[in-house]
């Protein structure tokens, strides 16, 4: 295995030294390209108070291609499906090498505060979100309390 690119090292160091508030990303001990991520639910969102575990993997050609990110904790969100996959443009075609792990995670945090039911991944959630936002938010809060708080 080729050694870790300088960029990843730098990013990791920076993540450790200047952690983003509300976000923690710790590289795995066995694989420096694999990060255990915990994102706190943003304030004033149905996910407030929850701690959401994610996993983040930097592919071989990172930063030329986007990192792979997935929610491990179950979450009720129109852009996040049951498997935890995230529908976020910067993780797909809008990826840019200028983006970093921290920006990606910030984007995800932002996504939590601003769900986008128009570009859904979990169709049923998106539907409810569009039809009955209050109900959806309640659901989201419920899920957050159930899955993201008890640990």
């Amino acid at each position: 295995m080729a050694a870790l690119p300088r960029r990843i090292i730098k990013e990791t160091q920076r993540l450790m030294q200047e952690p983003v508030p509300g976000i923690s990303a710790v590289p795995s001990e066995t694989n420096a390209r694999y990060f255990h991520v915990i994102v706190t639910g943003p304030e004033d969102s149905p996910f407030e108070g929850g701690l959401f575990k994610l996993e983040l993997f930097l592919p071989e050609d990172y930063p030329m291609s986007a990192p792979k990110v997935r929610f491990i904790t179950k979450i009720y969100h129109p852009n996040i499906d049951r498997l935890g996959r995230i529908c976020l443009d910067i993780l797909k075609d809008k990826w840019s090498p200028a983006l970093q792990i921290r920006t990606v995670l910030l984007s995800i945090q932002a996504l939590l505060s601003a769900p986008n039911p128009d570009d859904p991944l979990a169709n049923d959630v998106a539907e409810l979100w569009k039809v009955n936002e209050g109900e959806a938010i309640r659901n989201a809060k419920e899920w957050t309390r159930r899955y993201a708080m008890d640990n």
């Binding site: 080729a2 050694a3 960029r7 840019s96 200028a98």
Partner: protein
């Protein structure tokens, strides 16, 4: 400033911009690899990472984008302000790595000979490093071979000398014998002839007279008859009748008288019993030198590649490399490393890549670099300085390069220590390596680009044969080296142990080597006219043995005066040069002997490969015969010399009649003694130094016996000579005294044996003569004896010759030659033990006789050497003497190798020596004690272990005071057999001496530096550092020998270099640290500085898997033993983590375990296991088969409650931590 920084940072690589390219959207990125990676090759466009604007790529590619010059200026400015170093890769172009094919800044890699990226290169270097350590292990294991060979070579050297000395003596004897026989016979024959001539002549004269008378009578008768038998005269009838009768008678007489011509016509004829031609032929080739069993020598000398090369080690090395290396091994033509200097690049490939090597001198190197030659020429040059003319043909090449050489003096150092056989030089002498070590140790700790040179043990072995450091070597170079070395030593204490042993010896050698030339020159100028210097040197070679001996003699612990008294004695022969030319010659031979070593060395290295022993043997043999047959007196002197040197001690037969004679004859003897003493008086005064030495040497030992005798002696001044005389007699058990007396003065001989002895003597010699009427038969008889007494021959032979030489008067046939007498004695002489005894006693005697009688110088020298030899036998096995003596003579080394070595083999000289020691009258006890001591030390560990059961002592009880323990766990043996105990729940390390006396403690509870939290394993590495497995802190801490914190490494985790409850810990010979990472079920290996090296084992119960490994040990053969506790077995790995074997399973039978914990291995490979669950200690053979077990549950002596660490002391004592009893027990 931070923003400024971020402006200079490329957002893609998050690094400082490198060659920033400006996109039309005004965003800049590094050209490589950032911009390169952004290119969409299909659409030939690039998307700006910042603004996502898409731009067409110019025709030339991303290079076509304009460079952001402003940014670049800023970068430069920033670099200037911040004082940053310029980017090392600036101006480079990225290439595809030839290994991982990533685009990167590539540099040529010496390992694979390709251009590779940094990562691959470091990986390769890692591989190399590991290979080196692996090969190094092999070397370590294999170096014994070289040492063995060295030992054998040394032994062979002495054997050779002994052998040749013996043969030379033999030849001399035969020559003497033959010439004497010839002379005797010739004299006899000539006497016969003369006698015969005289008798015959007398007879003939008589006859002649008679005939003449007869003739005249008859004549007158005839005349008378003619004249007067006429009628003129009146004759009476009776008268006429008578006359007639007379005439008739005359006629009858004339008729009958017949001269018996046969009688006097006998011709004497000289008839040879043998065809003279044949005889001459026989004599001319009267002996041959038969060089036998070449295998004994040759087999050991042949050059082999050293170690068998394991495939795996070189698997990764290129073919090219291998070839080069193997060539370097086998022939000196092809220098090692292909003629490069250490660390130098190989000749660069066509495209130049010199940028990577910061070394300033590097470019200089390259331009001057000549691939071949360098090694050779240097090598040769050192010879030339040895004045070895044999190197003439090659020396031409030297001059050509000498000019260039001078420039490189300092860099050349590696060549100075180059081994002549393998071409391997000492890495630590290489300037580059020195620099590295210096860097490392001075704490610069810059990233190592090169592996730290593992201490190569190869060097010591070839050393002795390496060309001696030329005396004329440039001083500056020497200074430079020593300076660098001193620096290194000062800084790198870790390197020191490896080098120091060889170094002082070498230096001493140098100093010794420098001395000899003076005496040698003295000799040639001395006008030893008949001898060419060459032959002189050749004889010197024989003398290699005695020369260094005086040095050892000086080490004798008999007070301060010894060294001073010794010196003049050693010089005595030369100072006495007025006495005889011989003596000065011999003096030269002694002092100059080292020259011969040099010469030998030169010879060795000349040949390139070690010379075939057969050839050499032959060579010296020839040399020896030449002077023996040609020269007169001088060669005689040489012969004497060589004989003494040959370490064959002349062994006069113990005369059984002697004691009786002595007892009965005391009074007369004393008379003669005193008379002799007066004779000797001047002699004694002439040589006070040597006399003094004599006394200091043995005086005290014999004082008692002397005193007893001396009571009779009133005269105090005469005491000295008589003392030594008595000493002789006393020490040699009243042995035959005739020999030295014969040698020196016949008058004393007469004196001594004037009365009854002489008769006895003459009788025996007559006997001897009659028994062997001809010299020839005597010789045959002698030969027969020779076969029986293989050894004594040359010795007594030597005596005979020596005596003859000294004796001026011709040997009378009646008294016979003393040698014949001796021979007769010998013939009746008995067993070998007696002989050896007498031999050794003679050694004493001969040296004593010399000061007594002012004997010729060579005797003195020889005597001295014999004494020195004796001393060495006695003290040779003591290491201290050996070190301090500094004499590099092969003898001393052989001796210091210890007696057992020699007693094991049947080699002649060795058994001579050992006998000598054993039979020495003065200190038989000392000698036997030495032997016994060795035997004790060498007794098999197996039996030692079999006897183990009884507790020797135990240390500690529960508590926290010094010397008390709370759950002691790990234990280790430190330097000087100290016991190092991990006092786990007192969070400290305690150190005890080998008797269990508390020495020191260090550490306390905590997680800071030097603090512990329930430490478990302890280890002590070779330089005395303590390495502690700090269990609950999940780290390893290293302390210096004084217990001061040095460093710590590791933290909790499962990654490389992380631990989960590290437990047992150990180090190997190279200082690698092995840690049982218990909860991670693996073993991790680190360099001594804490760098992770490797790991092995995973959770499981299969072979190679571990479950809660607790303790670990590494054997001297680099086998790693792990107590695989929960699998109830011991697993054996190699240093690379491959399983070799495993033994034990759960149970309580012999060889079974229940949760084994501590494991230890002694230097013989015996394995000791603390079988914790069974509360016993089990001992296994190196192959893992059960040897014995002892111990049971309990708290009494030899009982255990929960065993932990275990260790074996160098003396074989087993120490074990008895955890629940809070103590350490020693078995």
């Amino acid at each position: 400033m931070e923003q400024f920084e971020s402006l200079l940072t490329c957002c893609v690589c998050l690094d400082r911009f490198r060659n920033p390219k400006l996109l039309p959207c005004q965003h800049s990125f590094c050209m490589e690899p950032c911009m390169d990676g952004l290119v969409d090759y299909v659409r030939r466009q690039v998307k700006c990472p910042e603004c996502r604007a898409e731009h067409r790529i110019p025709y030339q590619g991303v290079q076509g984008f304009p460079t952001n010059v402003t940014l670049q200026r800023f970068l430069e400015l920033h670099a200037q302000i911040a004082g940053e170093l310029p980017d090392p890769t600036a101006g480079q172009v990225m290439e595809r790595c030839n290994v991982c094919s990533e685009k990167s800044y590539c540099a040529p890699c010496a390992h694979c000979d390709k251009k590779v990226c940094e990562d691959c290169k470091s990986a390769h270097m890692e591989v190399l490093r590991r290979e080196i350590s692996r090969i190094n292990n092999q070397i370590r294991r294999g170096v014994n071979r070289l040492q063995d060979i060295l030992g054998i070579v040394e032994r062979n050297t002495t054997n050779l000398q002994t052998n040749c000395g013996a043969v030379a003596g033999e030849i001399d004897e035969i020559h003497k014998r033959l010439s004497k026989a010839l002379k005797d016979r010739t004299d006899f024959l000539r006497n016969e002839v003369d006698r015969y001539l005289a008798t015959e002549l007398r007879n003939l004269t008589h006859l002649k007279d008679n005939l003449e008378l007869e003739l005249s009578n008859i004549q007158s008768n005839c005349d008378l008859a003619d004249k007067y038998m006429t009628d003129d005269v009146e004759w009476e009838d009776t008268e006429l009748v008578d006359t007639k009768e007379i005439f008739l008678k005359t006629v009858e007489f004339l008729r009958n008288f017949d001269y018996e011509a046969g009688d006097y016509n006998r011709r004497m004829r000289f008839i040879m019993t043998h065809d003279p031609n044949q005889l001459v032929l026989h004599v001319a080739s009267y002996g041959e030198l038969n060089i036998s069993h070449p295998s004994a020598y040759g087999g050991n000398m042949q050059q082999t590649p050293g170690l068998t090369r394991s495939k795996s080690d070189h698997r990764l090395a290129t073919q090219f490399r291998q070839q080069e290396e193997s060539k370097g091994y086998t022939e000196n033509e092809e220098p090692i490393l292909g003629g490069r200097k250490f660390g130098e690049r190989r000749p660069p490939p066509p495209e130049k890549h010199t940028r990577d090597y910061g070394a300033d001198d590097y470019s200089g190197y390259e331009s001057e670099h000549r691939p071949s030659r360098r090694f050779r020429s240097r090598f040769v040059r050192s010879h030339q300085q040895d004045n070895d003319s044999d190197t003439e043909p090659t020396s031409r090449t030297v001059k050509a390069e000498q000019v260039q050489k001078e420039k490189e003096k300092v860099q050349d150092t590696e060549d100075a220590t180059r081994g002549p056989l393998s071409g391997i030089f000492r890495l630590s002498d290489c300037p580059r390596v020195m620099q590295r070590i210096l860097d490392v140790d001075s704490g610069k700790k810059k990233e190592k680009k090169e592996p730290p040179p593992p201490p190569k043990p190869v060097q010591p072995a070839p050393q002795p044969r390496r060309p001696p450091p030329p005396a004329q070597r440039q001083q500056s170079e020497d200074d430079e080296i020593t300076r660098l070395k001193r620096q290194n030593k000062g800084a790198a204490s870790s390197q020191e142990p490896d080098r120091t042993p060889s170094r002082p010896a070498e230096e001493e050698r140098t100093s010794v080597n420098r001395k000899p030339p003076t005496p040698a020159r003295e000799a040639s100028s001395d006008g030893e006219s008949d001898e060419s210097v060459g032959s002189l040197q050749r004889t010197q070679r024989k003398n290699t043995a005695p020369a260094p001996k005086p040095v050892t003699a000086a080490r004798r612990p008999s007070g301060s005066e010894v060294p001073t008294s010794h010196r003049p004695a050693a010089r005595a022969p030369s100072t006495e040069s007025s006495a005889s030319t011989e003596s000065s010659g011999s003096a030269v031979k002694h002092t100059g002997a080292i020259l011969t070593i040099e010469e030998l060395k030169a010879k060795y290295s000349n040949v390139g490969t070690p010379p075939k022993p057969g050839v050499r043997f032959f060579f010296t043999g020839n040399d020896r015969t030449a002077p023996a047959t040609t020269n007169g007196t001088v060669s005689g002197a040489q012969r004497v010399q060589s004989r003494f040197v040959g370490s064959q001690r002349p062994a006069p037969a113990p005369a059984p009649a002697e004691p009786a004679h002595e007892d009965s004859d005391t009074s007369s003897e004393e008379e003669t003694d005193s008379s002799e003493e007066s004779e000797e008086e001047p002699a004694t005064q002439r040589k006070p130094e040597s006399q003094a030495m004599t006394r200091t040497d043995i005086g005290p030992l014999l004082a008692r016996s002397t005193n007893a005798r001396n009571d009779a002696n009133d005269n105090k001044t005469k005491e000295t000579p008589s003392q030594s005389r008595y000493r002789t007699r006393q020490s040699s058990q009243a042995e035959e005294e005739s020999t030295p007396r014969y040698g020196s003065s016949s008058s004393s001989y007469n004196n001594r044996y004037g009365k009854p002895k002489e008769e006895l003597e003459t009788q025996s010699s007559l006997d001897d003569d009659s028994k062997y009427p001809t010299a020839r038969s005597r010789y045959l008889a002698l030969k027969e004896r020779r076969n029986r007494l293989a050894r004594s021959k040359s010795s007594h032979t030597g005596f005979g010759v020596g005596d003859d030489d000294d004796q001026d008067d011709p040997v009378s046939p009646t008294t016979a030659s003393p040698s014949a007498y001796l021979a007769a004695r010998y013939g009746s002489g008995t067993g070998g033990t007696e002989l050896s005894r007498s031999r050794s006693s003679h050694a004493l005697k001969s040296r004593e006789s010399s000061p007594e009688r002012a004997a010729p110088g060579e005797k003195d020298g020889a005597a001295l050497s014999s004494w020195a030899r004796y001393l060495k036998n006695k003290y040779g096995s003591r290491g201290k003497d050996r070190d301090t003596s500094g004499s590099t003579s092969s003898t001393s080394r052989r001796l210091s190798l210890g007696l057992p070595l020699r007693s094991a083999n049947e080699l002649a000289s060795s058994d001579d020596d050992s006998k000598n020691a054993a039979g020495s009258p003065i200190s038989p006890t000392a000698a036997t004690a030495a032997v016994a001591g060795f035997a004790a030390a060498g007794s098999s560990p197996r039996s030692q272990y079999l006897q183990k059961r009884r507790l020797q002592f135990s240390v500690g009880s529960r508590g926290s005071e010094p010397g008390c323990f709370t759950w002691p766990r790990g234990i280790a043996v430190g330097p000087d057999n100290t016991m190092v105990v991990a006092d786990s729940s007192n969070h400290r390390v305690q150190v005890f001496d080998s008797n269990g006396i508390f020495v020191k403690e260090f550490g306390q509870y905590g997680s800071g530096e030097g603090e512990f939290d329930c430490l478990a394993g302890v280890a002590v590495n070779r330089i005395g550092q303590y390495i502690i497995a700090d269990r609950y802190n999940h780290r390893i801490q290293v302390f210096d020998p004084a217990g001061r914190f040095l460093r710590a490494f590791g933290s909790q985790g499962t990654g490389d270099g992380k631990f989960n409850y590290p437990w047992g810990i150990t180090t190997d010979a190279l200082g690698f640290i092995y840690v049982c990472d218990k909860e991670n079920h693996r073993v991790q290996v680190f360099q001594s500085d804490g760098t992770f090296v490797g790991k092995f084992g995973s959770f499981g119960s299969k072979l190679g898997q571990l479950e809660h490994p607790h303790y670990i040990a590494v054997s001297s053969t680099n086998r790693v033993l792990v107590s695989d506790s929960n699998n109830h077995r011991i697993q054996v790995f190699d240093v690379n983590g491959r399983v070799l074997s495993s033994f034990g399973e759960e149970g309580s039978e012999d060889g079974q375990f229940k949760f084994p914990r501590g494991v230890a291995v002694d230097d013989q490979g015996y394995i000791v296991v603390a079988d914790s669950g069974n509360n016993r200690i089990q001992i296994f053979h190196p192959d893992g088969t059960f040897l014995r077990a002892f111990g049971s549950w309990g708290s009494g002596d030899g009982e255990f409650k929960g065993l932990e660490g275990i260790a074996v002391m160098s003396g074989g004592n087993i120490i074990v931590c008895d955890r629940e009893n809070h103590r350490v027990q020693v078995f």
